[in-house]
Symmetry: C2
Subunit: 337 residues, 2 copies
């Protein structure tokens, strides 16, 4: 494997260095070709590094400021030029890192990334793509909240970027693309989605057609495209439902000493079930459409989840996602429009 | 309890009279004040009634046609004047039934209901409302697919109708209303949702503010309002996720004879868990905004699920939902606009 350097915003997320540093060390431990630059308050980071094995592939880059989780993105971008988030993105821009990872404020990360890295030519809006588990394996869904008022052309661009992502990372020559809608028939949906369906049918993509919400988890297509409002609602609704089901299952097993005993007896199965639906494995959303690789981790990520997000960054660098998307948007969209 | 007559489209849904007739008999068996008119092919219905107890509160009204599940709504409305669905709605219009229930084609049921029953004054669009389980109990979500391109005023009207529904059925004087959005802050969301937030804040409703997808299952508010595209995606995504989780749980317990044994030992808990997340109990969506009560059952409903949908119709009649909404839209919306 070729060597890869990842810049990690060590201060981002609900837990900062207490999560990001152990996660980085885990990645270094299992992948001898990864180098990590931890960006943030040097003292905070070094406190977390103390006593751990020195892999020699870790560097600390001090940054004096932190973007707060609810800070307005424009303010974070304008006023905090030395934030850990900004410096991590700068490291990508300057070629010191091949990708960066942050668990911080999504809006700020998007704004800073657009400003510092700039957009790819022919892409009007960046999109956020994530992986979700399905009955068959997994699928890639975008956009997840970067864009709330989309045109049909934006959806086409998202589809193109999503397809190139899957094509690179999973080595699939022609991934299937589904358009999230409220019925299978082409006449269904709102005006933007109907028009997007026309553009997708005329495009060189392997367009499956409309898919419905349940197709996400059925794994009907490799890529599911929607606007950021719909994608965000679908994702958050899923989080809420999964939490409710987990709560109910736990409560039922805790009802009495008899049910607790049953839970104990069934615990090997319950554990492997839990592993299977563990959303932490899917942590790490890709900010697509930028001239660089930026991965957004869930703010509440624990070390294992954040480790998965760094892993996603490494995977995207190695598979050449960026050059794949860049080539495609330079040539492919003209054929599609 | 006062006596209530419900018209049931016996032919609708994937299974027709084999599901609708046993469901109707169950309702009659447990509620001595309900009368049911089964509408559809007399021979088919009577075949299902044969051998069952005669409650004396059931009537069969022959209808010679059936609306197919994928028939275009306009065609079903124009060409099938003697469909079981149309006749069931006609019975409400003519005062022979206080409500009707159908598991048939949603679009056709909506089109026929609008045409036959007409809309309430001051309501521009009908909406579909359903109940979803939450960690705390349950919540009402609308719209679920009747309207794909909504204005802020439509969302306000849905909120009003949803609040009146809850206020009547659950006897809550001021149910809380949440606006489904992609963040809590008022500046979040697309243009329509931001404007709807302003209208809701100025309205006499008990407006909680923006809610996110996970708030649906957290039970943050009594009512969650969204446009039909978003609502439909949220509902279908939930169906898909619940199915995936159920499949994974089943698979883990079926992996070997040891895991099967564990499943057997834990089966009392697994059964009560299953009962708790049983979506059939929430079957029966309300078509709101019409001058009559129309309940849409899931097309794939089994007898228990369809029984719940008929139960929902009875509940709405008894609680006076229709007069509550009618009064409110006559007076309340002016105060709100």
């Amino acid at each position: 494997m070729s060597s890869v350097t990842i810049a990690v915003d060590a201060m981002g997320g609900d837990h900062g260095p207490r999560v990001t540093v152990p996660a980085a060390l885990q990645v270094l431990g299992r992948d001898p070709d990864v180098h990590i630059i931890l960006v943030g308050g040097r003292a905070d980071i070094e406190e977390q590094l103390r006593g751990h094995r020195d892999f020699g592939r870790i560097a600390v880059r001090h940054a004096s400021e932190v973007v707060e989780m609810h800070e307005p993105p424009a303010a974070a971008m304008r006023n905090k030029k030395d934030s850990s988030m900004r410096v991590a993105v700068d490291l990508v821009k300057d070629g010191h890192a091949a990708a960066c990872v942050s668990a911080g404020n999504t809006g700020a990360l998007m704004a800073i990334s657009r400003f510092v890295l700039k957009m790819l030519p022919n892409i009007e809006r960046p999109a956020i793509a994530t992986i979700l588990p399905t009955i068959k394996g997994h699928t890639h869904v975008l956009d997840l909240g970067a864009n709330v008022d989309c045109t049909a052309t934006h959806l086409l661009q998202f589809a193109m970027m999503g397809a190139m992502l899957v094509s690179a990372v999973e080595n699939k020559p022609a991934p299937t693309v589904g358009l999230l809608n409220i019925g299978e028939e082409a006449i269904k949906g709102n005006e933007v989605v109907k028009k997007a369906g026309e553009l997708l049918r005329a495009s060189p993509l392997n367009f499956y057609g409309n898919v419905e919400g349940d197709d996400i988890y059925k794994g009907t297509t490799d890529v599911v495209v929607c606007d950021g409002f719909v994608g965000n609602v679908a994702l958050k609704t899923s989080e809420g439902l999964a939490q409710m089901i987990a709560t109910f299952l736990r409560e039922e097993f805790k009802r009495s000493w008899r049910t607790r005993l049953m839970g104990l007896l069934a615990s090997p199965v319950l554990r492997s079930f839990k592993r299977r639906v563990d959303h932490r494995r899917y942590n790490g959303a890709s900010l697509l459409g930028l001239r660089g690789i930026v991965i957004k981790s869930h703010g509440a990520a624990d070390p294992f989840a954040f480790e998965c997000a760094i892993g996603r960054a490494v995977e995207e660098v190695r598979s050449g996602v960026l050059s794949r998307i860049t080539e495609q948007v330079a040539f492919g969209l003209e054929g599609a429009a």
